[in-house]
């Protein structure tokens, strides 16, 4: 099974080298999508030759769009499965084999989930619990952590969870679509790692995501 890792990166110069070099040892290929970073992210990624493809957005679109670009590229390169990993080292690449193993048990999608405890900053913990509960109430999808972006899926799984959101709401849209299209999914416990409490989704992003969820409830 050809597994390609897709890593979205926006201003990740500090961590991206470490993430890519560790990940590329565990998958067949790594695709980094530089989402118009203003730091050295692109230059760092271009240092890799073997096994790493770097794509670049001319304009910053958002994590959801970067992942869409990466996934399309991965299917073009003949991937059988895609694993999504954050570029800021929030996901431990050493867990990739567990994801692949779980997918090979016959699932279409495996969602990484974190234990929502004190290791997660308070605002993110509260937001995550709220959005996880809201996803369950609004769409009937049960998942312990709807915001964790560490995920693996095969092509049939991808078709069932394909998302439109270009920003942060993509993470929940994938979950909602997986539930709606009856994807065969499972969750896998992953580590909770936070290097920077101020990066990622903010309280306002959480509110925007919730409003988006309400619009999906009406439209989807």
């Amino acid at each position: 099974m050809k597994v390609i890792a897709v890593i979205p990166a926006y201003n990740e110069a500090e961590k991206i080298f470490e993430v890519v070099s560790t990940t590329k040892e565990l998958v067949d290929r790594v695709i980094v999508v530089n989402d118009a970073s203003q730091d050295n992210t692109l230059a760092i990624c271009q240092q890799f030759n073997e096994g790493v493809t770097t794509l670049s957005h001319a304009v910053n679109l958002g994590q959801g769009a970067a992942l869409k670009t990466g996934c399309e590229a991965a299917w073009m390169m003949g991937a059988d499965a895609i694993i999504l990993i954050d570029g800021d080292s929030q996901h431990d690449p050493s867990e990739i084999p567990s994801f692949i193993e779980k997918l090979q048990q016959g699932y279409e999608v495996v969602f990484g989930v974190r234990i929502i405890n004190n290791e997660m900053p308070f605002v993110k913990r509260f937001g995550n619990l709220f959005l996880t509960k809201a996803t369950h109430k609004l769409f009937g999808v049960s998942l312990s952590d709807v915001q964790c972006g560490y995920r693996i899926f095969n092509k049939s799984g991808y078709k069932k969870l394909e998302w439109d959101s270009i920003g942060y709401p993509y993470a929940i849209e994938m979950v909602v679509n997986a539930g709606k299209n009856k994807a065969n999914y499972e969750e896998l416990l992953t580590k909770t790692i936070y290097h920077d409490n101020y990066k990622g989704t903010t309280l306002f992003d959480g509110i925007k995501i919730f409003i988006k969820m309400l619009s999906w409830k009406i439209n989807k």
Binding site: A65, T69, E72, A73
Partner: protein, 116 residues
């Protein structure tokens, strides 16, 4: 003529000129040119002959100057909301087009590498 009337007339004439300029530069289509031209013409007439607002209010069955002002404010507010909505739809469409363009461009680099 009151000071506010002069301000209104200058503003309406300036906006009409800008509207015409953008139309001649082909930056706005004919229908938008006509809509905006009517808006600025109406403002010009109201500023030059304030009595027209009273005539309008009599025609529409509204009584008194206050009612006429209320009526104009409501019409103006509705117009602004309408334009806001149009801009919102336009921006959403532009966002989608931009996303497609940027993503297609990024993917083209793979196709080029494949060709090499």
């Amino acid at each position: 003529m009151k000071f506010i009337q002069i301000i209104g007339i200058i503003f309406a004439l300036t906006m009409s000129y800008l509207n015409f300029l953008h139309f001649r530069r082909r930056e706005i289509p004919l229908r938008y040119f006509i809509i905006w031209a009517l808006v600025w013409l109406a403002l010009f007439v109201f500023a030059l002959i304030p009595g027209t607002t009273s005539l309008l209010s009599q025609e529409l069955g509204l009584i008194g100057d206050l009612r006429t002002m209320d009526f104009l404010l409501i019409i103006g507010f509705m117009g602004v909301l309408g334009f806001l909505y149009q801009f919102y739809i336009y921006l959403e469409n532009m966002k989608k087009r931009l996303e497609k363009l940027v993503r297609d461009n990024a993917l083209k680099s793979i196709e080029k590498k494949d060709e090499q």
